[in-house]
């Protein structure tokens, strides 16, 4: 058993300490790099906080969209289903006017929003759309 504090807690405190105590002393020509370091730490912290994107729900949604009866127990299920979903989209199986179009679009939207919540929550509100 690991002792506390662990990765999530350590990252969070390292990031806030870096921002408060180190960043003000970083020379101007290294500020961009310093901000990138802080950003990477924030993304990692959020990924721990959210305890991973709900992959079970994504698998269930994809299984339904693709019209399968059972959820596969293949360890790479999510990857396999996404590959099949991507190929089906390219082939036009979810074109406007098809039965699955609207549900497929909603699924994509919710997956994108889940990932954005981790990597750039500001962009979820249509706000900051820059690097």
């Amino acid at each position: 058993m690991r002792d506390k504090p662990q990765a999530d807690d350590l990252l969070k405190i390292a990031e806030s300490t870096f921002i408060q105590e180190i960043l003000p002393y970083i020379p101007a020509d290294r500020k961009y790099t310093a901000l990138m370091i802080a950003n990477a730490m924030r993304i990692a912290t959020r990924q721990f906080d959210k305890n991973k994107i709900d992959e079970t729900a994504e698998i269930a949604a994809l299984t339904k969209l693709l019209g399968y009866l059972d959820v596969s127990d293949d360890p790479d299920t999510l990857l396999t289903l996404n590959k099949q979903f991507a190929a089906a989209i390219r082939a036009g199986a979810f074109a406007p006017g098809t039965a699955g179009h609207s549900k497929a679009r909603q699924h994509l939207l919710s997956c994108v929003q889940n990932r954005l919540a981790e990597v750039n929550p500001k962009a979820l509100n249509g706000g900051n759309n820059d690097r």
């Binding site: 790099t33 179009h101 994509l108 962009a123």
Partner: protein, 335 residues
């Protein structure tokens, strides 16, 4: 310094140069693709402020060689486009070990974040937007068929479909499936415009961040290495796409102004009118293009070929672009 005497040697071997003395030489930016050196040199007694541009160690597929870039600068300068004046080109590796060219240095900043936040740039954002529209129209005035630019690629079978094929190939080359990008590409295929009658010279990276500007005026259009023949609207879509507004999303022309001013400058110089709906198609294409580039950049880090924090973070821009794509391609019946 070895490179200093090599450059002086190069200049002195030119017929028109009798004396050459370098007074300053510094690496300005060490990009992944090119290196730019600040070069101050007194030639025949006349002080010149220039930039020497050469290859970095790694070169990016699809980008032009320095000699081709020099030919483009020459052409654009002659056509009245605001670009740094190209002065000399050397293809001979004997001077600094690789090809290079020297151009006059222009003043100002290219930093997108600064430019969108400070209205007093380029004589004011409105004036700047109109001027950029005029510049782009001047670039597009070069029609397909110029012998001196015959190295530029011609899209087959047409600008939209060639990009769709290229981006699908890029998706096929990665391990991770990208259903949202496939969704966008399907939309782009279904909504592809009729091919344009006349292909024109497209800059292909004409956006805020790639031009130099002082408080008073635009001083230079930079970054020509992706230029190719294409549909003029692809440059307009790239300039206006939300992903290139540097956070100033409401200023739809490059984060600096509304579209009207930019379009007016373009229309005035080109004599053509811009179809806003047709531009929207190319904005979806622009967002897709940036997503594919960001994905490829991320792969350079992920694969271990080029470990880099910047490349790693660039990969995480993709979901923002995917959200833009889903919003832009939303149909009338979509929730």
């Amino acid at each position: 310094m070895e490179i200093k005497s090599a450059i002086e040697g190069y200049l002195l071997h030119l017929d028109e140069v009798k004396t050459a003395k370098i007074t300053d030489l510094r690496l300005m930016t060490g990009g992944a693709i090119q290196q730019n050196w600040l070069l101050d040199v007194t030639v025949n007694g006349v002080p010149l402020e220039t930039v020497l541009r050469t290859d970095a160690t790694s070169s990016l597929e699809d980008s032009l060689s320095r000699a081709q870039e020099y030919a483009l600068f020459k052409h654009a300068f002659g056509a009245g486009v605001t670009v740094p004046e190209p002065l000399w080109l050397s293809n001979d590796p004997k001077w600094i070990g690789k090809p290079f060219f020297i151009m006059r240095r222009v003043e100002g900043t290219a930093a997108g974040h600064k430019i969108v936040r400070k209205n007093a740039m380029g004589g004011g954002h409105k004036i700047l937007a109109k001027r950029l529209g005029q510049e782009l129209a001047l670039i597009h005035a070069t029609k397909y068929g110029q012998a001196e630019l015959d190295f530029l690629t011609r899209p087959t079978p047409n600008p939209a479909l060639s990009r769709i094929a290229e981006y699908r190939a890029a998706l096929d080359a990665t391990d991770m499936p990208q259903p949202t990008l496939e969704w966008g590409l399907f939309w782009l295929e279904q909504n592809a415009p009729e091919p344009v009658k006349d292909l024109v010279l497209c800059h292909n990276d004409f956006r805020t961040g790639n031009y130099m500007v002082t408080e008073e005026a635009l001083t230079g259009i930079l970054d020509w290495e992706f230029a190719a023949w294409g549909d003029p609207l692809q440059d307009i879509g790239w300039f206006c796409a939300k992903c290139w507004r540097f956070g100033a999303a409401n200023n739809e022309a490059g984060g600096i102004s509304d579209r009207a001013g930019f379009y007016a400058g373009y229309e005035q110089t080109s004599g053509a009118s811009i179809d806003q709906n047709a531009v929207l198609y190319w904005e979806v294409m622009a967002t897709m293009r940036w997503a594919i580039i960001a994905m490829k950049q991320g792969d350079r880090h992920i694969s271990g070929r080029e470990p880099s924090l910047e490349l790693a973070l660039t990969r995480h821009i993709v979901p923002e672009l995917e959200l833009d794509i889903l919003q832009m391609t939303k149909g009338d019946n979509d929730a």
